[in-house]
Each structure stands twice: as structure tokens, then as C-alpha cells.
């Protein structure tokens, strides 16, 4: 396959060169877009040759476009100048001819027009009038009305003695030209983005790729273009690889139900579907009717479609036979179905035989359910499945439980407020910050688009504080090379101070603003801020100073720590008074209950008393809940059981106590109920 791909790359390269020679540079770039996608799967030399050709052709295309645009502009402004002259507006004419001469200093028509316009202005104005024009032009210039300032400044600049007018006019022309270029650039970006979207919709993926790449060449930080380019490349790649590796149907496996008969109104279907290109949806039909559809959201980390989708879905059954069809559809539109017919038998109490057969039937049903569970359990026991996490922050969203209210509150408040999350050690502050990062990155509902950056201050010395913050920002936000060049930050740079940080932050925020149409908000999620207690007041004050800056309405911080030292000796405002505080409490019983049960649901069973015992012993601290669960599940596995019993929890208590005591540097057992027993 690699040989076929290489051959295809060479063919596309040749086609591109041929097209370019005949003037079809845009079409050539489309071929190279396809070649690039293929070459990425090959060796770096092939990819380099494709990229070099792309660069060369893009350069040619840009030059051609620039020349055409320049010629058009010169022609238009020459016409403007001549018309203005004819209509008796020499000042406006002179502005137009000057503009042409900026683009083409030897343009004869413009030189001649300029002379005529100058003569007419000098003939029709006095020195005093020109002095007045200068004052007017300067005022307009200083008020930022550069275009309006050009006319009066053009008149004023005709006075030989008024060098200041000429200098101001020159600056005005440069600014107006810069603004014009910016406007054109913005319009071009919007046009190319629209075109790219239309091409994507029309299934012309390589062409769309070229459109989005063009946007990124002039606006490297454009997140939307980057995202759409990724999509276009993926689709181009799929289309190409389909030639050698045609899309395959997804696989679909149903674990439950196992029997053909079922008693009860609601049957639970349990299974998993996988596909190498990603799952688009899973559809459930009962009796020919679609009764439900699962459409998995894209992966949070890469934005790609999910390739594996486990599902547990309840279906309502009618008495008698129920034809059920489960269909998995992949992103390429291929599908795989599994059919089964489940006969719903009436419940015992619905039949005449209810009373005599109740006991026997119950045992049978239980056995059926337990059989399936036993199968899963046996596999899990072989693998020593233990999903609980004690000690490290929880980064897997599937293992994140509770805190819904707090998350909603934070999201609501972060629009306009910086926040400090306080809470005892190991209450889950770091885990919550990571969770918040994902939530903020995906938040589409508010007026702001958040760009979250996680910073861990542990071990950061005072001298390196601002440098460490900026290092994380630069790392996390993948800034464009153009922005990177304007920063004072260098990776190993010493002597990086608050002022440098503020300087750089302004530029980072400016780039973020180009990535979204909403208001950009950089969200610094700063963990372990207790470190700041060890810093001098000056550094703390300078941190506060960052949030007093004019750009600080595009900046928000969420800090987390055990607590901020509040003894304040300085006469100025306490540094910590720019944020509101929120305490991270222990879990509610329901949250803790979910954390115990859900990670092993359907695999192992918890004795209700064991769960209650963990909730009591842990005092609803998530870290302790996890720790008890880890040890209790391990003990259960050692005993070859599938049910976690109270005795497992009691045994776990001894281990947890011992670990707590060791962590506290004390060999004595620590009473579970004592506050602070969990200090790390």
C-alpha cells in the first residue's frame, strides 16, 4: 500500500507542476493538498518535497494576486483623481494621486495629476487657510480619524515651511494604508472561510483544504480555520485511502440480553460498537420503529469522532415477541446491524399461575441476570480490574463525579469574576480545576470564549513566578510564530519580571481575540497557590497589578489552595482582594455514593452496608472514598469474590489509617474521624 501511495504522490506532484506551468496554480495547489495528506503517512523526504512545492506555488500565487490587486487599485485611484480634478476638488484629487504614487512612484499620470492638483490648491488657498487646515488635520489625526485628516493635511503640506504637516501627512498615509490592508485582509479571510465551508459541504475536500490553508497563511492564529482545515484534511485523507483501504462496516457486539425471553416491561440492551473511522450513531428499533438513537459527541481531547462506543440502553417491550434491531453507523455512512427477537413473557402477577410459580420464577430470572454479570465479572477479575484512583488527580472525565452545582456556579461567575477555590488538602481541588479546564474549553453558551491554561505553582520559586506563568501560557495556547516573536518571554530567560509578563500578556490576548468572534477570555487556572504565601508581598502585589491592567477584562483567574495568608502589613490594598472565594466542600452523600458504585457498576457488586461504611469512614472526602475503594476492591479480588463486603472495607480501613499516619510522618494509627487525618 505504501508503494501505491508513493506512486500516487508522485503522480499528483507531476500533475501539479504541469498545471502550474499552464497557469493553473490554484488547481495545482488542490493536487498538492491531496499529495500532502498522503505524504504524511510516508517518509519525511516525500513530505518535504510536497511542502516545498506548495510553498513555491503559494508564493507565486500571492505575488500574482498582489500585482493584480495593485494594478486594479492604481487604475481605480487614478480614475478617482481625474474625476475629483474635473469636479473641482483638487484636495481629494491630490489624496488619490498621492496614494497611487505610494504604490507606483513613477506613474506618469499620477505625477502629472499631482502637479495639477497642487497648483490648483495653492491658487485657491491662502497660507492662513492652509495653517487652519493643518490645525484641523492635526486634531482629526489625534482623534484617530486618520482618513478624514488626510485632506486638510494634504493642503497644509503644500507649505514648504510646514515640515510637521508633511510628517503628519506621511504618518497618516501609512496608517490609512495599514488600515486599508487590514480591512482587505479581514474581508479576504471571511471570503475564503465562506468558500472553504461551501467546498466542504459540496464534498470538494482538497479545494476546501486550500481555502483554509490560505486563511491560515495570513491569520495563523485563526482557530476556526485550523479546525476546519483538520476536518478537510481528514476527509481528503479518507477519500484517498478509500481507494486502497475501503471503509469497513463497524463491529457491533451485544452482551445483553443473552436469552430470547424476558420478563418485565423494560429490557436493558448492553453492548459496544467500534469503527476505525469513528461512530456516527447507534440506532435502536423495536417492531420496525426507531425508538432511540445515540450520537456520541466528538472526543474532548482531539475533536475526532469516537471510535468505540459502549452503550447501555433501556427498551420498552410489548407482551409477546419483540423484533429488535440495533444498527451502528460509522462516519463514512456504513452500517452494521444486529437483530434479535425477545419475547416478553407476562409477569407472574399478570398470569393465573402467578402465586404457585412466583418463587421458582424469581430464582430463574435472577439466575439469568446473574449469569451475564458473572461473565463480565470473571473477565474483570482475571484482569484485576480496579478503576479507583487514590493520590493522583482524576483526569478521566468518566471518573469525575459530583460537583455539578459548583461547576455551574463557577461557569456563571467566571464571566466577570476571578475566583479562589479553597478547601482542605485532598478535597479534590486539582481534580476540579482539570475538570473546569475541560468545561471552559468547551463552553459555547456565554458571551466569552474561554482559553483555559492550567498552571501548577508547586515548586515554583519567587524569582521564576512570572516566567513560569508565561511558560505555561505559551505552551498551552500554541501561539503563532508572529506572536511568539513579539514576546519578551524566552524559554530559559532569566530576569523575566511582572512588567515583561504584562507586556506579553497583552500580545497573547490580542492573538486569542483573532481566534474567536466572541470576546476572548484567557482563564488562568492556578493550582497550589499556597506557594504565594511564601513569596514577598511585592510579588503578590505585582500579581494583583496584572489584574488591574487595562487588558484585565480579557483575563480571569481561578486559583486553588488550602488558604491564603491574610496577615497584611502593607499600607496598600491586600493583594488577594481581586477575587471572590468559594469553598470546595466534601461530597454530598449522593455524590460519594455515585463515586463508590458507578465505576464498577455492572461488573462488581457492592454490599449496601459496605458502601455506607465507606461513606462514614471517608467523611465524604473524595480522596478517602477512592482510597477505601481501591483497597476494598483489591481485597475482594484477592479473595476471588465479585462482591465487595463490609469486611473488605474494614480491612481497607487499617491500610488507609496506616498510610495516613505514614504520610503525616507519624507511626501511630490515626483515628478515621479526626480532622486532618488525611493531610498529605
Amino acid at each position: 500500500m505504501s508503494r501505491q501511495a508513493r506512486g500516487e504522490v508522485q503522480r499528483l506532484l507531476r500533475q501539479a507542476q504541469d498545471l502550474a506551468r499552464r497557469g493553473g496554480v490554484e488547481e495545482a495547489l488542490v493536487r498538492l493538498a491531496q499529495a500532502e495528506v498522503l505524504a504524511r503517512e510516508l517518509d519525511s523526504a516525500t513530505l518535504r518535497s510536497v511542502v516545498a512545492e506548495q510553498e513555491r506555488l503559494r508564493g507565486t500565487l500571492e505575488q500574482t494576486r498582489e500585482a493584480a490587486s495593485r494594478a486594479q487599485r492604481i487604475e481605480r485611484r487614478l480614475e478617482d483623481g481625474s474625476r475629483e480634478l474635473e469636479e473641482g476638488r483638487p484636495t481629494e484629487a491630490l489624496v488619490a494621486f498621492n496614494e497611487v504614487l505610494e504604490l507606483d512612484p513613477r506613474n506618469a499620470r499620477a505625477l502629472e495629476g499631482r502637479t495639477t492638483a497642487q497648483e490648483r490648491i495653492l491658487a485657491s488657498t491662502t497660507r492662513a487657510a492652509r495653517a487652519k487646515s493643518f490645525a484641523e488635520g492635526r486634531a482629526l489625526f489625534e482623534a484617530g480619524q486618520y482618513e478624514q485628516a488626510l485632506g486638510p493635511l494634504t493642503d497644509a503640506a503644500l507649505d514648504e515651511a510646514n515640515a510637521e504637516a508633511r510628517a503628519l501627512l506621511r504618518r497618516g498615509q501609512q496608517i490609512v494604508e495599514g488600515l486599508r490592508r487590514q480591512r482587505e485582509l479581514r474581508a479576504e479571510i471571511e471570503r475564503r472561510m465562506r468558500e472553504g465551508e461551501q467546498l466542504l459541504t459540496a464534498g470538494r475536500f482538497p479545494e476546501a483544504q486550500v481555502a483554509f490553508e490560505t486563511v491560515l497563511r495570513v491569520d495563523p492564529g485563526n482557530a476556526r480555520a485550523r479546525e476546519r482545515l483538520g476536518e478537510a484534511e481528514r476527509r481528503t485523507g479518507e477519500a484517498l485511502f478509500t481507494r486502497w483501504l475501503p471503509n469497513q462496516e463497524p463491529t457491533l457486539t451485544l452482551f445483553e440480553p443473552e436469552g430470547a425471553e424476558f420478563e418485565g416491561e423494560t429490557l436493558v440492551l448492553r453492548g459496544v460498537t467500534t469503527d476505525d473511522r469513528g461512530i456516527q450513531k447507534v440506532e435502536f428499533r423495536v417492531g420496525g420503529q426507531v425508538v432511540a438513537e445515540l450520537a456520541p459527541p466528538p472526543r474532548l481531547d482531539t475533536g475526532e469522532p469516537q471510535r468505540t462506543l459502549p452503550f447501555v440502553h433501556p427498551l420498552s417491550l410489548e407482551p409477546g415477541p419483540n423484533p429488535i434491531v440495533v444498527t451502528a453507523v460509522d462516519t463514512g455512512g456504513l452500517l452494521r446491524s444486529q437483530s434479535l427477537t425477545i419475547t416478553r413473557r407476562l409477569r407472574f402477577y399478570e398470569t393465573k399461575l402467578f402465586l404457585p410459580s412466583a418463587a421458582a420464577g424469581a430464582v430463574g430470572l435472577l439466575g439469568l441476570g446473574l449469569g451475564a454479570q458473572r461473565l463480565r465479572r470473571r473477565r474483570a477479575m482475571r484482569r484485576r480490574f480496579n478503576p479507583y484512583i487514590a493520590g493522583a488527580p482524576v483526569l478521566d472525565e468518566d471518573m469525575f463525579f459530583g460537583r455539578e452545582k459548583l461547576t455551574a456556579r463557577m461557569l456563571s461567575m467566571l464571566n466577570r469574576n476571578s475566583l479562589m477555590i479553597t478547601g482542605e488538602r485532598r478535597i479534590g481541588k486539582t481534580t476540579f480545576l482539570h475538570h473546569l479546564k475541560k468545561i471552559l474549553a468547551g463552553d459555547e453558551a456565554g458571551e466569552y470564549r474561554f482559553f483555559p491554561v492550567f498552571v501548577d505553582l508547586q515548586g515554583v520559586p519567587e524569582q521564576a513566578f512570572f516566567h513560569a506563568l508565561m511558560a505555561e501560557i505559551v505552551d498551552a495556547l500554541a501561539l503563532s510564530p508572529a506572536t511568539r516573536e513579539t514576546l519578551r518571554f524566552t524559554p530559559g530567560g532569566a530576569g523575566y519580571e511582572a512588567r515583561d509578563f504584562n507586556h506579553d500578556l497583552q500580545r497573547v490576548i490580542a492573538e486569542l481575540q483573532t481566534r474567536t468572534e466572541k470576546k476572548a477570555k484567557l482563564a488562568l487556572l492556578i493550582d497550589e497557590v499556597d506557594v504565594l504565601n511564601e513569596y514577598s508581598e511585592t510579588v503578590n502585589q505585582r500579581l494583583r497589578g496584572v489584574f488591574m491592567r487595562s487588558f484585565s477584562d480579557s483575563l480571569v483567574a481561578v486559583m486553588s489552595g488550602v488558604g491564603i495568608r491574610r496577615t497584611w502589613k502593607s499600607e496598600v490594598s491586600p493583594w488577594y482582594n481581586f477575587f471572590d472565594e468559594i469553598e470546595l466542600p466534601p461530597f454530598t452523600r449522593d455524590e460519594a455514593d455515585a463515586l463508590v458504585r458507578e465505576p464498577v457498576a455492572g461488573i462488581f457488586r457492592w454490599e449496601p452496608e459496605a458502601v455506607q461504611r465507606i461513606l462514614d469512614l471517608s467523611r465524604l472526602r473524595p480522596y478517602l472514598v477512592q482510597k477505601y475503594c481501591v483497597h476494598a476492591v483489591n481485597r475482594m479480588l484477592e479473595h476471588g469474590r465479585g462482591t465487595i463486603r463490609t469486611e473488605d472495607v474494614e480491612a481497607a480501613q487499617a491500610v488507609v489509617d496506616l498510610e495516613g499516619a505514614r504520610a503525616a510522618g507519624d507511626s501511630r494509627p490515626v483515628p478515621a474521624a479526626a480532622p486532618g487525618a488525611m493531610a498529605d
Binding site: S412, N417, A498, H503, Q541, P574, F579
Partner: protein, 343 residues
Amino acid sequence: MRNPFVVGSWVRDADFFGRAELIREILDGERHSLWVLGARRLGKTSLLREVEHRTHRSRETPFVALYWDLQGSADARGLAETLLGSVEDSEPFRRATDVSVDHLESLPVAEMLATIVRRTVRAGWRLLLLVDEAEELLMVGRAEPNALARIRGVLTRGPDVRTVVTATRLLARIDEEAGLATSPFLQGFIPPVYLTPLSPDESRALLARGSFAAEEVQTIVERTASHPFLLQLLASRLFESRDLAATLDQLAMDEMVANFFAVDFQTLEEDERRLLTEVVREGTRTRRELAGALGQSEDSLEPSVYGLTKLGYLAKDGEGFRLGNWFFERWLRRSLSAASRAR
């Protein structure tokens, strides 16, 4: 709808409420040196940021504004650093005056200021220098009184530069502690202009953002006495909880609020603290009763009563005075009882 209230951060433009008269005095008044005296979290930074914002947007103003946050300066070199940072931060200022950091770098702070004024005037403007956290000058003055004297010389240069400093009343100590050989630092800046709590109508306008019931609005205005920080904090928490009684109880016991009062209380003079303690112990007191309890004449007590009323610590109650707001009263009572238990 997301929480529209702002706790802690400065505000401007649509988020800024009230202060119309004070802003008029800053922009259109006769004085070229003003000290805006305000307690902690009364909105000093927001006031300066709003003035800066309005100046940048105005076509009629003769001023170009520069906001200078002194916090963390510590000494004359630090002042120069924060001033450079301010210039870097303000694109409208740089554009209007054509001042760049390169013109200023490596100059001592007084010369830096003088250069800024000179270039501002040359560009056809007058400088409106908005100096925040001016208590930092106390530290500079103790260590380098000559540098402070030179800075004062530029700040009070007359019509070319209008200087507005904001600080708590701690700044009043500067002339005692810095001991300038030339004119006292605060000459021209005093009498201070007080930054008061908002008016009830301004508070209601702010609270309208939360769509609260009329009775809730009334309770919030009463309990906070329109103190902007307490108003925003209570409104923000109520917006999330929608339970006013519980929110009031929580806030009254909140550690952050307690710390705010404790820090704020320390900015007052000893006599003022005694006066407030007397009121919280005995309830509403007349001038005469207060003078008797503190062993002073009513006349000598008047400046303290006036200042504390302006800053929102005291409120008129018939002929007498009571504590300004419910939260402060609860905190002071608790602190006094804790202190007496400790004794």
C-alpha cells in the same frame, strides 16, 4: 443568564454605576491636584478606570489620561517600573502623545514623569494622571524623601497636569512620616474629596441586573448601605442561591468579608476606631454622647464624625449616629466579643 455581578475586579463603562458628581469634579473642576479618599473596596480603582475610559472616548476633553497603579513599587526605582508599565499598558495614551517606552526607559521616575508631561503638552494635550494605590508613596517617602519631593514637584505643576490620587486615609500620614524638606506632599491635594457609598437609586440600578424581587432589592440596599463591594458580593451570591435569608447569614459569617472589615478597620485612626466601638456597644449615639464617652469636645470630634459618615462607617439616625451597615456592625460586635473573651 450568567451572573452579571462583579466582585473584586474593577469595572467601567456599562458596569460602572453612579459617581457622576465626582467625575464632573475631576474632569471639569478647578483643582489640578485631587486626593480621592475612600475606604477599602469602595471603588477607587473603578472610579479612575472610568475616568480614564471617558477621557479616551471624549472628543471635547483637553486631557489625555494615564492610569498609574503604584502597588508593588516599594521605592523610586519601582515607581519608575510601574510608570513604564502604565505607559506600555495604555495604547490610547501612547497614540495621543507619541510617547514610547524607549523615550523613558532608564530615566529616574521624576524625570520620566516630567518627560511624559512635556511630550503630552507638546502633542497639544493636558495630562490627566490617575494615581491608584497612592499609599505606596508612604513607603517611598520613608526611604527616599528627596525622590518623593521631586515627584511632587511634577505632580503639582499646574494646568499642564491634573493629578488625581486615590488612597485610604492612611495617606494622611505621609507628611509626618516622609518629612519632605520642601512643601508638604499633600499641599494642594487637601482637603480630600470623599468617595462615598452609592446612592440608593444607583444601587437599585445596579441590582436591576439580577432581576430580584422588589423586597429583596430593598433588603440588599438596607443591609449593605449601598457599599459597592458588599452590594456586588451579596447580589452575586444571591443570584446563585436565590435564597436571601441564607445568603445574608452566610455573608455575615464569611471569612473573606471578616478579613475585609479587619483590614479596612486598621486604616482608621485610633480615635475613629474608638468612636465606632462606642457606637457598636451602646447603639445610636448623639454627638454629645460620643464626645462625652471619648473625653473630647464636640468640635474636636466633628472631623472624625464627618469622615466616618462620608466613608459609610457611620449613618445618621435621627439626631444621632449608628453604624453604617449591618454586616460591619455584625463583624465589629463579633470582634469585640472575641477580644473580650481573649482577655
